[in-house]
Amino acid sequence: MSTLSLSSPKMMSERSGGIPFSRLFLVELRKQIDTRAGRWLLIVIALVNTALIVLTLTTAEAKYLTWSELTMAASIGQLLLLPLIGVLAATSEWSQRTALTTFALEPRRTRVNLAKLASAAALGLIVMALTLVAGAVANVAGMLWRGGDGSWAMDWSMLFGAALALLLLVAQGIAFGLALLSTPMAIVAYLLLPTLWTVLTAFIDALAAPARWLDMNVTLLPLMAGGDLRPTGWSQLTTSVVVWVGLPLAIGLWRTIRRNVA
């Protein structure tokens, strides 16, 4: 027995099994929030949301001071910034060269990427849940301070829409990160390309019709408004998601498998 061997019986017994997905999921979740960049993004999201709550509390009419309205106001920060945590989760493996350890510990690279997707989605849901709590606190504050309506009726379809939109945008961030494998390129592409496309479709009449199917900025609007999308709305949303999330994700998964880690 070497003096190096510090193994307990438990360590030995676990040696034979593979890594369960739940552990990959937990590790990837922790990796998204244990770096300075990740923490700052979360702090900025909290600050933006707090500012929006304060703005709503001070300027909105009393009848709009409800749990539902305040929660929606406080959801903007994560819609804008949480996808960037997704981008970083995908690209930092390469920019920080941690892929060298990550894929030596789990050579099944697609499992790692799926764990990134699942954990980013979970982070999105956690942030949404915290937003609900923040909205509730703001609702009480609104009642006490401004004599607000204070209704506890939640517009669940709107909340569901906002949560789904958030998950799709986070998935898009990861997809762009995996497809481009470079932090600056992926962030610029994620922020710029969809907007550019929206601007183009606004100026070129011929693009207006396809844009209803191919512009996530357009197809997500009815979802976030909590309206009934009906078959057409869902098909349009699905089509745009296939193009803006599915396609880069497929490219990214393929690139990750093929790439030589150096």
Binding site: R23, T35, N260
Partner: protein, 299 residues
């Protein structure tokens, strides 16, 4: 046990690894020696399934690396000590991997102690680490899963002499316990004292391999006669050996016994007869890689 069979890697038309075949045995330290840019790192990345070979096969503990379940528990890998997230602390990096491998939490502090990092150093972001501290963290990471195989690329790089001595002891203990160690280096004197076996690589090709003792043992004999070196050379050449007169006597490829018998038969009186002094790995390494090295001298 690590085996590489006819590993070849081409980047475009550039041949980086060229038909590399070797075995690293358990209980032994195998030194993977070559100048910078000779294909050591690429070969090691192929062994760890991080780079796909153009052709050839490799296995670790009897199976291809990418099929190992939870490989961190079997194979400790340190390929580049600088490849760590600069925004994480050393302890956080170890904790993440311990969580992934399913290790008890206490294991992290054990390996931190093992490699001689202080608690304060472990709690600092790796962006602030010196190269020596990164190497220690990398070794801690490689040892984390209590593996049976270590694959280490230039682990001594950046360590001070005391650190290098410490690492020697650590790897020696690991191999004595039945572990397999493959470590690369371009620093000859390091490998000379630590490795049981050597694989010498230059320009992507294996130039020599064998036990360090065999590779270091220079065949040949130094001999001196009382008055007739020329005749001795003639007799040796006639017997099928190469031989030549030097300033201090005769140098020949024949073994000591053969030279003695030949001299006796030819009635030549010898005043000096001994195996040629070990030339040292440095000469061997230099001879073998001089024409292959990028800039001639990297040792």
């Amino acid at each position: 046990m690590i085996t590489a069979e006819h590993l070849t890697k081409k980047y475009g038309s550039r041949l980086v690894v060229d038909d590399v075949t070797f075995t690293a045995q358990p209980g032994r330290i195998t030194g993977f020696l070559g100048p910078n840019g000779s294909g050591k790192s690429t070969t090691m990345r192929i062994l760890c399934a991080l780079t796909a070979p153009t052709s050839g096969r490799s296995s670790v503990l009897g199976q291809p690396f990418h099929t190992l379940p939870n490989p961190g528990r079997r194979v400790g890998v340190l390929l580049d000590a600088s490849a760590q997230h600069s925004g994480r602390t050393g302890r956080e990096i170890l904790s993440l991997s311990a969580l992934l491998m399913g290790l008890p939490r206490a294991r992290v502090q054990q390996v931190v102690d093992r490699v001689g990092l202080t608690r304060r150093e472990a709690d600092a972001r790796t962006g602030t680490y010196s190269l020596g501290m990164r190497q220690r963290l990398g070794l801690a990471h490689a040892l984390l899963g209590d593996p049976r195989v270590l694959i280490l690329d230039e682990p001594a790089n950046g360590l001070d002499p005391a650190g290098i001595r410490w690492m020697r002891g650590l790897l020696g203990t690991f191999a004595d316990g039945g572990g397999t160690v493959l470590l690369s280096s371009h620093l000859l004197h390091e490998v000379e004292v630590i490795a049981d076996d050597l694989v010498i690589i230059g320009n992507g090709r294996v130039l020599a391999q064998g036990t360090t003792a065999d590779l270091l043992a220079t065949p040949g004999t130094h001999v001196r006669s009382l008055s007739d070196d020329d005749a001795l050379v003639r007799e040796l050449v006639e017997a099928g050996h190469s031989a030549s007169v030097t300033v201090s006597g005769v140098s020949t490829s024949a073994g000591v016994d053969d030279v003695g018998r030949i001299a006796l038969a030819a009635h030549i009186v010898l005043t000096d007869l001994r195996p040629a002094g070990a030339t040292g790995l440095e000469d061997l390494f230099f001879d073998m890689t001089a024409q292959h090295a990028r800039d001639g001298v990297t040792a």
